[in-house]
Subunit: 227 residues, 2 copies
DNA sequence: GGTTGACTGTCATTTTGCAGACATGTTCGT
DNA sequence: ACGAACATGTCTGCAAAATGACAGTCAACC
């Protein structure tokens, strides 16, 4: 495959910013690409974690199941994010599930290759550390939300983050498309489907948002979605 | 100070296992020791994170406050654990509070020194990654507990972990001393003080445990503390 | 050794949001 | 164009636990 195309794999990843072109080439050389469509599972818990993934386009969710079949989503990832990082954190199996939420292009790299590169480049190591730290903060904030906020606050502030991350700014507010199902939002916020529905309709009532299955529109400013 | 004493600083840290003696000397050289007594704060959020800490003896809790003064404890750390790791994860401030729960000996090392050593030793880097991965798993399990378990299950399984980690095995069960206050347990399990009291008394009723302010005794096997 | 402050034990009260049930609406495949 | 599968809207009851209030206990420190 043409080198240019290979390099394209690795564009738009914050984590790799500032790496030397030579390094990037080497990385790209070891990377392969796959197309995954909605509902495909990338890995299960107990699967060997030999691979680290770069999400080029689409959305992936990382979630967990309880014994009695309930679901909670730990993270919703968009373009530019990395997942399956347990591979480079010295763990040989995954402990959660990665599933495609929205058709995705994923770049995969063997953990050994990546670790070799890390040994050669302290700069890469630093970037990885930074990324992990950022991930750690995010999940701590998640805990904080679960403990301090009630159901509807969790839903509202999730919407805030969601619109901020995935939305497009318009003259009169924000637009996100496509949107998630109520059940998906419930799993992300540790609430019940019915509660999500209720809160969403309340917000629509107050004319803060407008939504349907395929889009969500925020009228006006992001900070209406507070508390 | 005598080199032997310096080296003592760094014994019993899983993370440092398998490091070369030379490396250990270098690490020890850059380490200083401090005694901290109960209720002392080691760092606050927004404090610059220039230091990484090794907990030699005692207990430290890492916690967060909400705007309206509520508390939740993210982690309770015992001898052999590391904290303040955000320093090596490329973040320049802390985002939570580290407080001494039980008189502690803490070894402190400047993050720059530590990072220099990491650059020299890929082995150390690997260990650090492993440690971070482990920390990440722990907090993900915490989230899972919060979402899937109810208050009394959280309290019981916290007791399980607590006894396992800090208790001494006896002929007829386990003993932990000193014990935590009900409020501290409440903060760790995201429950109310009164609920902790209730659950504890229930367990005592069923003759599974016996406790007072200063100790907790588990009669028989750990797996009585399940679900 | 008595007073102060922290911790424990136990109520009654109130709230939140989950669960179940079911109707309606939408999408997609054939 | 039809029906199955999936998604949304809405109601009702219920239960877990937080909250608030207060009495009893313990320990430490003048």
């Amino acid at each position: 495959m043409a080198e240019k195309t290979k390099l394209w794999y690795l564009q738009n990843f914050n984590m790799l910013e500032g790496m030397s072109p030579k390094m990037m080439m080497e990385l790209a050389e070891n990377t392969s690409m796959q197309n995954n469509s909605k509902k495909e599972i990338i890995y299960f818990p107990e699967d060997a974690s030999n691979t680290i993934y770069f999400l080029k386009t689409g959305k992936i969710k990382i979630y967990r199941l309880s014994e009695d079949g309930k679901t909670t989503t730990l993270q919703l990832l968009g373009p530019g994010e990395i997942f399956g990082e347990s591979a480079i954190l010295g763990q040989d199996t995954h402990d959660n599930i990665a599933e495609v939420v929205e058709d995705a292009v994923v770049c995969a790299m063997d953990k050994r290759d990546f670790q070799d590169l890390m040994e050669k480049s302290p700069k890469l190591t630093m970037s990885v550390n930074k990324f992990i730290g950022w991930r750690l903060r995010k999940i701590q904030a998640h805990v904080e939300d679960l403990v301090f906020k009630n159901a509807s606050q969790r839903i509202t502030s999730f919407l805030h983050r969601y619109v901020e991350t995935f939305g497009k700014k318009m003259v009169d507010g924000w637009m996100v498309r496509p949107f998630l199902t109520h059940q998906e939002i419930a799993d992300l916020t540790a609430t019940a489907r019915q509660t999500v529905n209720q809160v969403l309709n309340e917000l629509a009532e107050r004319d803060v948002i407008k939504f349907s299955r395929r889009f969500l529109q925020l009228k006006g400013d992001l900070d209406q979605l507070e508390t």
